[in-house]
């Protein structure tokens, strides 16, 4: 059967970007279907009835949802350019930190982004604490995976560039070069990786989008 790979995404979804990077790193040909979140296609709703979200990977007609699940699926299906190490302990470590990014790190940074004043001041220490924890993981390493990028780099990678957008929109410096030298170096190394560099959403468009998101949150205090 001819291989058919489709990716349902939006132009800006950081979770979808993880999948773009993984597919490109492994040299997998795929078709992109851009979704308009305010007007989701019937196909998307059919492929992801539980969450109705992007990204969704459809491989030979079979859909996979949730970005970390998709990454593991890609890793299991296409063995070239492995994203996970062979050693079980190192694999477990990578999975632990990828989960930490989604469960703790990103929500804490997001919380700083969608608040202001006292509420924001109170949100900052947790984000910093989580950033410290992940900074430690980079000791002696170029990427979280070592010399080349892997699961955790891909999981956290979009923050590598998005952080500058969030910092611009909030006027706050979260990843200070002095406090987080390893993260700073990592972001630089990441942005030099071909696949990452070539697939980053336009900066200005991101700034406008996140500015609008922050304004909505500050006005209503609730997600759209």
């Amino acid at each position: 059967m001819a291989e058919e790979v489709k990716l349902f995404r939006t132009w800006s979804s950081p979770f979808a970007l993880r999948i773009v990077w993984a597919l490109k790193l492994k040299g997998i040909q795929y078709e992109t279907i851009f979704e308009d979140i305010s007007n989701k296609s019937p196909l998307l709703l059919q492929y992801n009835p539980v969450y109705k979200k992007v990204p969704v990977l459809v491989h030979n007609g079979k859909p996979v949802s949730e970005s970390l699940v998709i990454l593991e699926y890609i890793e299991d299906t296409w063995k070239q350019t492995p994203l996970l190490p062979e050693d079980p302990y190192e694999r477990a470590t990578a999975r632990f930190w990828a989960k930490f990014v989604d469960d703790k790190l990103m929500p804490s940074i997001w919380h700083v982004f969608v608040t202001q004043g006292k509420e924001q001041d109170e949100a900052i220490p947790l984000a910093i604490e989580n950033l410290n924890l992940i900074e430690e993981q980079l000791k002696g390493k170029k990427f979280f995976s070592g010399e080349t990028i892997g699961l955790v780099d891909i999981a956290f990678g979009w923050m590598g560039n998005l952080i500058s957008v969030l910092e611009m929109v909030t006027g706050l410096k979260l990843i200070d070069a002095e406090k987080f030298p390893l993260l700073q170096a990592w972001m630089q190394n990441l942005s030099d990786v071909q696949v990452i560099k070539e697939n980053w959403p336009p900066h200005d468009k991101l700034v406008s989008k996140f500015q609008a998101i922050r304004e909505t949150y500050l006005a209503t205090g609730a997600p759209k």
Binding site: S65, L68, Y73, D76, R95, L133
Partner: protein
């Protein structure tokens, strides 16, 4: 694989925790002997804090002095290390993705709704919370039919990853049913899960680590009195 001594594999946990149970079931499936280091309610041992500095939570598997944290990460680790034993994750990548998807759904969406029942204030809120849990179980009933393909478990003929991910909550489901005098796993709405639940609890790798409902209910009362909070996570 060289024989491991009991102290080479240690599990920090507690008998009521569904998350700890996941690790114990996985170790049982692989016939791995381990030392069970039980934490006391209300305090955290130095070993736990040292082994899981990020979350400070159980379970923690310590294998050859190296800690592994997060229950589903631990289950996958056990499957990877003791590869000669029965497989826990499906071998087919797509089946594996489906199992991982539903396991994540169970933890991210469904379990919080289960905890929501104990936290709900007033009859209306409780009713709504219960409905949400049942809706989730109906989704899982459908998943069971698709994954199990007519066999006894989500994993097929034997217990697998998704069975472990959901099955660990059966003790707490039964306690919640008992304390609220209703059924969450219902013959009418989720008949296949009802059958599955009995098979799961009766399985050799599960029955010694699944707490008795009465004992768990007593523990729940102690917990609620102590912390005025829902079941442990």
């Amino acid at each position: 694989m060289a024989a491991t001594t009991t102290s080479d594999v240690r599990l920090i946990g507690a008998w009521p925790s569904p998350f700890v149970m996941r690790a114990r079931i996985a170790l049982n499936i692989k016939s791995v002997d381990y030392e069970f280091l039980q934490e006391q309610l209300g305090s955290k041992s130095d070993l736990l804090l040292k082994s899981n500095p990020v979350h400070k939570k159980i379970p923690v598997l310590i294998h050859s002095d190296r800690p592994i944290c997060e229950s589903l990460v631990i289950v996958q680790y056990i499957d990877d290390v003791w590869a000669s034993g029965p497989s826990i994750l499906p071998s087919d990548p797509y089946d594996c993705a489906i199992a991982r998807f539903w396991a994540a759904y169970i933890d991210d969406k469904w379990f919080p709704s289960l905890s929501g029942i104990a936290r709900a204030q007033g009859e209306e809120a409780k009713k709504a919370a219960i409905e949400q849990v049942v809706e989730g179980l109906v989704l899982l009933e459908d998943a069971f039919l698709k994954c199990g393909k007519g066999k006894a478990f989500f994993g097929g003929d034997t217990i697998g990853y998704l069975d472990i991910a959901l099955g660990c909550y059966l003790g707490w489901i039964r306690v919640t049913e008992k304390m609220n005098n209703m059924k969450l796993l219902d013959e009418a709405k989720t008949p296949n899960l009802v059958t599955w639940a009995d098979k799961f609890c009766g399985d050799g790798s599960v029955k010694d680590v699944m707490p008795e409902t009465d004992k768990l209910a007593e523990f729940a009362k102690v917990l609620m009195a102590k912390f005025r909070a829902p079941p442990p996570n």
